[in-house]
């Protein structure tokens, strides 16, 4: 499935809910299915800068596609990174770099987050895209 399609799928899923409590609960649920980063990588090196709670992300290139794994010490942040990884994982670096992130506004996610958390969300997207950029540069140089 293309990134765009996954984004639309998420927009539909979140549209099912009437209020913020249900959306939060769904986000927290999504966090439970997050592909977890190995404990030994929960170090400063893999920490996303700009989050008030701790979020670790690691990327690998598997069959030309980037596979992300992550974790967080906060449940809501875990839900946020899980949504982002569902969108961006298992795609080629270029597709990730070029993907737009309008879906965040369409889900209404940002409206429901505190400014600190919204900044953290932007930092997470930036980190995922940076990984993609790094792998793309590596591929171009090979």
């Amino acid at each position: 499935m293309k990134i765009k399609q996954i984004q639309e799928e998420l927009i539909d899923e979140f549209a099912m809910f009437d209020d913020w409590i249900q959306r939060y609960e769904y986000m927290i649920d999504l966090g439970k299915s997050l592909p977890l980063i190995d404990e030994k990588f929960k170090t400063d090196e893999y920490l996303v800068n700009g989050c008030q709670s701790k979020v670790w992300v690691k990327a690998e290139l598997v069959d030309k596609q980037i596979v992300f794994k992550a974790d967080s010490d906060a449940i809501i942040s875990k839900g946020i990174i899980a949504i982002l990884i569902r969108v961006f994982s298992h795609h080629e670096p270029n597709e990730i770099i070029e993907a737009n992130t309008d879906f965040i506004d369409k889900i209404g996610l940002k409206d429901h987050l505190s400014p600190n958390r919204a900044n953290g969300l932007s930092s997470m997207i930036k980190q995922l895209k940076l990984y993609a950029l790094a792998y793309q540069t590596k591929i171009n140089n090979e």
Binding site: W20, I21, Y24, E25, I28, Q52, S53, K54, D73, A74, I75, I76, S77, H112, L113, S114, N116, R117
Partner: protein, 409 residues
């Protein structure tokens, strides 16, 4: 006549327009008073009044408005002198806040401290009472010694007394811990420090909203606070200093108002308090702060302490009924601050959900990382009550907290 808060709570709440606000569609419940207290209408009005009627620079012009502004500004200084029972009004210096006040004093000791002199601070300090002293030590070669805390969050006073010696030059301690709300035995600390001729600065930012401070009775050398904690506007701090110390330390900022004579070779400094108030100060803020302290005194600080203590006990009792909830900081003498965590749930998660319910709390390290390191936690959720809060609000908070825990477990 003192107002009795219980019988006048509706009227008191009416004095604070912000309490009528809705947040996320819910009635605002403001439990972040330790960070900033809310502002009564009378204080807000005084700012409008200043800019509508007598906005002009103080101490300079001979014109009518300048005189009026100067009088109001100096009247505010006298109000704080009386409030803190200082001997002289010029021992009250207006700054931009507690942090500014502390930096002013730290800067003043740059030339006085020598290598290997010792500074004692406590494990309970706010970052603003740690970093300026570290900067001072880097420049002077002085060393920092730390008073440890016990598992309840109380300072271990025996250990403090052991740290004192002839090399101790300065002692800095907060009156009340911002993270835990524990009231420290500062009178005893000051007395012991003085036996070694050490100078004591007390950070009173968390004490002034809840208790009457008498700087003469405490015999404290410097006492600092911010008026946004005591119903004043943001951007105004108070520095009380004993005359002899204020005369001894040099000015912090150079500029207008703080000088006596200026030639290009040398300037001589003005006397107290102007020496420390360079440039145009926050005139409207200082005047409004004076109105704020009048407002607090019209209710009565002791009455406020009693009422807030009831809220503290009520909320503590209710919180302790919640499974896996742990409160940090136990002491027989506490201000209305509760720092807690629930199980392994991250404080940001709980704080975010409470915010959605319209409840303002503080979450995280609370600018006091050494305390969090001591308890080995990423932070806490802190609720802090003021005299305009109610038991009904606490009930609502407990209900929302239960919902948050359900969502996050």
């Amino acid at each position: 006549m003192k107002k009795y808060i219980h019988t006048n709570i509706d009227q008191i709440r009416n004095d604070f327009p912000i309490l009528k606000r809705k947040v996320n569609g819910q009635n605002l419940i403001y439990f972040d008073n330790a960070a900033t207290s809310q502002t009564p209408q009378i204080v807000i009005d005084s700012i409008t009044d200043y800019y509508s009627k007598y906005n002009s620079n103080i101490h300079r012009g001979v014109h009518f408005l300048s005189q009026e502004a100067t009088d109001a500004y100096e009247k505010s200084r006298v109000k704080f002198q009386k409030h803190f029972n200082a001997d002289n009004s010029y021992e009250i210096i207006f700054t931009s806040g507690t942090t500014h006040s502390i930096n002013l004093v730290a800067n003043g000791f740059k030339k006085i401290l020598k290598k290997n002199d010792e500074i004692i601070i406590s494990q309970l300090e706010h970052h603003s009472n740690i970093v300026p002293w570290q900067m001072l030590c880097e420049e002077t070669g002085a060393k920092i010694k730390v008073i440890p805390i016990d598992n309840n969050g109380e300072l271990i006073i025996d250990k403090f007394e052991n740290l004192l010696n002839s090399k101790t030059k300065l002692v800095f301690v907060n009156h009340v811990s911002n993270a835990l709300g524990i009231v420290n035995p500062i009178k005893h600390i000051i007395k012991k420090a003085h036996e070694f001729n050490a100078i004591v600065l007390v950070d009173g930012a968390q004490a002034t909203p809840h208790m009457k401070i008498d700087v003469v009775d405490l015999d404290v050398d410097f006492y600092v606070t911010s008026t946004h904690k005591i119903c004043g506007p943001t951007g105004v701090g108070i520095l009380y200093g004993k005359e002899k110390w204020l005369n001894k330390i040099p000015p912090f900022l150079g500029g207008g108002e703080m000088i006596d004579q200026v030639t290009f070779e040398k300037s001589t400094y003005a006397g107290l308090p102007n020496k420390f108030e360079a440039g145009t100060p926050n005139i409207s803020g200082v005047i409004a702060s004076g109105i704020g302290i009048d407002y607090l005194n019209s209710i009565g600080i002791e009455e406020i302490y009693k009422y807030e203590n009831e809220l503290l006990e009520y909320a503590t009792k209710k919180l302790l009924l919640i499974k896996d909830l742990k409160i940090y900081g136990f002491s027989t003498k506490k201000t209305s601050v509760i720092s807690f965590n629930v199980g392994n749930i991250h404080p940001y998660d709980i704080g975010s959900i409470l915010d959605k319910f319209g409840i303002a709390t503080r979450t995280g390290q609370l600018c006091a990382q050494p305390i969090m390191d001591y308890f080995k936690i990423p932070g806490t959720i802190r609720v802090s009550f003021s005299f305009y809060n109610t038991k009904e609000e606490i009930d609502e908070f407990i209900k929302s907290l239960h919902k948050a825990i359900l969502m996050l477990s």
